[in-house]
Amino acid sequence: VSGAIQVAGVGAVSCAGWTATQLCEAVRTAAQLPAKELARPGWNHGLQVRQVPGANPRPAFFAHPRFRRTSPISLYAVAAALEALGPDRELIARRELKLGIVVCVMSGCVNYSRRFYDELLRDPSTASPLVFPETVFNAPASHIGALLNCTCINYTVVGDAGTFLQGLAMAADWLQEGRVDGCLVIAAEEADWLTSEAARLFEEKIILGDGAGALYLKASSGSAQLKAVTDSHLFLNRQDRNCAALKMKAELPELAGRVLLCDSATGFADLDAAEINAWKNWSADRVSVKKTLGEGLAASSAWQCVFAVDSLRSKKHDAATISVLGSNQQAIGAVFSCESCRE
């Protein structure tokens, strides 16, 4: 093992607000956050979503030329990234810190994809060239890189919610290899009637949430640390969700002290069955961020990690276990701990 990986910062945007503090407070108090209706063409009622509220005050970066036409996913991703980076943003601007960027999405830039395809169906000859580039999966990652003037390695990784934990492992590799001095791992999604309807095909009462979460990792000790990410256990013909969840659970170490389990349960029995089974003997503290924030797809697991790290920093727990059962790809887990946070 070549060194510790520190969580140097966290950031979050969610229906609770534009900061990690708001997210953590909402989850901690199990706040009943209002859902909003998104109009759905052809229906006489809308689709409920837990959408990010308008930013007030507007973050300064909204004025950057790159953000004149971006869709919400890019704004969320950047806001979470900047909050996580904190003062290190200045070091990056002065080229004194090499920053890697990993952006994780599942649904991605769906607002502009839908809008562009809608324009295409009306008349392809008038479809907007301004909209199309914002449909590309790596548009948010590109905007973050441009805002920070960061020219180092920058990946957009697609997959279900577990992808964020894969992104943490990827960032840890880059840090341990000395390829970068710091690495932002971000997951972001934006609400749209299209994705909400798609999700309802699998659970009629599910409410999607949008936003972003970010962890800023550095290769150093101190503060909260990323201690482990399990293997990614795929949902395959020969391995169902139940098996994948049990294997993930088995790879996670037994932790001493006050341990928090931060799981990916949605509150719907069918969707949660495998995860409930895997953790049926868990008796310590447990939190399910989706029950407050909605199903945030890739962003959900970032929110889980943000909440876990906040809980360590605020000395409520000594260690936190993250359990993620994604919707259609993998079961994967992670562990954070904070020796210096212990009372």
Binding site: P129, V136, S142, I153, N237, R238
Partner: protein, 440 residues
């Protein structure tokens, strides 16, 4: 208690045993054992490719070696209102490789999945790998099953109360489903990493796979890229006026845009030690990878090619070679005015004194821009060049852009090539370079 029916249960051990002070599992993603013996050499033991030339090494080698082009009027959707009318479409001849996929899975395969599976099947057979747990898969794509997403949207609008087949479309639209089908087809269990760095994805995926092996994270990795044509993406490039309305002519003084294609390429990568232990046929070696980000513009490269230069410099530095050792460059060379001028400047700058001897071509003149597949397909073309000692031409080139101070290959030719470099650049400022070496 070990659950019945869970394969590989015995391999599930704690990621990090705190009580023992740090015993590690090889399988977990973090922390992983650090490479102690120095970086292993990474070789290619399988390569599969599908383009508009057809499926398989031979059909493609014949096409590139003779400098043919494979464009035709688009048949997959109506282009009557588009500026551009042609693309390099793949024709499926009905033969599909034997795999472990179940009949319902086979029925649900979309166009992109079929391309991916065809290429993977060729690579898998060539490598003679066995089904196993724990084979990492790293793939690049820009749009996964976009055509299914389009179907979903059209039905949602036309029949708002009907959900017939919509759930299937939702699932199979997503690229992780296509990658999972790949795992099911050959009986391995990942993990999956799906890189979506626009048109650089296919090179980023190979580079990332190479790094996993080089840094001791895996002994072998299946990697590649795939993308199928879709109306949304075709219209997108058309709306940007990036598609040629005449003929795609990369590095031509009169070039007026790119032409789209579709396809897939998959490589079986493993350590040299593993390949030799198995007695595998080694097709070539990957020796360098570089990636850099261009913060200049969402769709336009820096006019001086700064990030392209950084990417090429990093790849050569990592490979431990100098530009004069590179015998062939497969350029990104889309045929758009901005890409080719920036890339030409980058190649000029990177080559230094070797520029006048540098041999360069863009095979997008033959099979179009295959987006997320491009970098992987072009890596396979480099492999062909290295193994068979010929250079593929920029087959449509008429008048060379004077910005090109290097030698553009305009006709198929025999050549001695020991190292080949492939560039891929994408929207969002993604730049990636991979360097391959001949295996002798």
């Amino acid at each position: 208690m070990p659950p019945g029916g869970c394969p590989g249960w015995a391999s599930a051990v704690p990621a990090f045993d705190f009580s023992s002070g740090g015993s590690l599992s090889l399988r977990v993603l973090f922390p992983r054992p650090w490479q102690e013996k120095g970086s292993p050499r990474v070789v290619i033991t399988g390569a599969g490719v599908v383009t508009a030339f057809g499926a398989g090494w031979k059909k493609n080698a014949d096409g590139f070696r003779t400098g043919r082009t494979a464009f035709q009027p688009v048949s997959l959707f109506d282009t009557s209102k588009h500026r551009a009318k042609v693309a390099a479409e793949v024709t499926f001849n009905g033969d599909f490789p034997e795999t472990r996929l179940r009949r319902p899975q086979l029925r649900r395969l979309d166009r992109a999945s079929k391309l991916l599976l065809l290429a993977a099947s060729e690579a898998w057979e060539q490598a003679r790998w066995e089904a196993s747990d724990g084979l990492p898969v790293v793939l690049g794509t820009t749009s996964g099953g976009m055509a299914l997403g389009q179907d979903f949207y059209r039905q949602a609008l036309a029949h708002p109360q009907t959900h017939f087949k919509q759930a299937t479309r939702v699932v199979h639209y997503q690229c992780q489903r296509q990658a999972l089908d790949l795992c099911d087809a050959f009986g391995f269990s990942g993990p999956l990493t799906l890189i979506a760095n626009a048109c650089a994805s296919g090179t980023n995926s190979i580079g990332h796979a190479w790094e996993l092996i080089r840094h001791g994270r895996a002994e072998r990795v299946l990697t590649g890229g795939y993308d199928s044509l879709s109306e949304l993406v075709f219209t997108g490039f058309d709306s940007l006026q990036a598609l040629s309305t005449t003929q795609c002519r990369p590095f031509d003084h009169q070039r007026d845009g790119l032409a789209l294609g579709e396809g897939a390429a998959v490589l079986a990568l493993e350590t040299l030690e593993s390949a030799q232990r198995r007695g595998a046929v080694i097709l070539g070696e990957i020796i360098g990878y570089g990636a850099a980000t261009d913060a200049h513009h969402l769709t336009q490269p820096h006019p001086e090619g700064d990030a392209a230069l950084a990417s090429m410099n990093e790849a050569t530095r990592v490979a431990g070679i100098t530009p004069d050792q590179v015998g062939y460059i497969n350029a990104h060379g889309t045929g758009t005015p901005l890409n080719d001028s920036a890339e030409a400047l980058a190649i000029n700058r990177w080559s230094g004194e070797a520029v006048s001897r540098m041999r360069v071509s863009s095979t997008k003149a033959s099979i179009g821009h295959t987006l997320g597949a491009a970098g992987s397909i072009e890596a396979v073309i480099c492999l062909m060049s290295l193994r068979e000692q010929w250079l593929p031409p920029t087959s449509t080139l008429q008048t060379i852009d004077p910005a090109c101070r290097f030698q553009l290959v305009t006709k198929p030719e025999e050549a001695r090539v020991d190292c080949a470099l492939s560039n891929s650049f994408g929207f969002g400022g993604a730049n990636a370079t991979v360097i391959l070496r001949r295996w002798q």
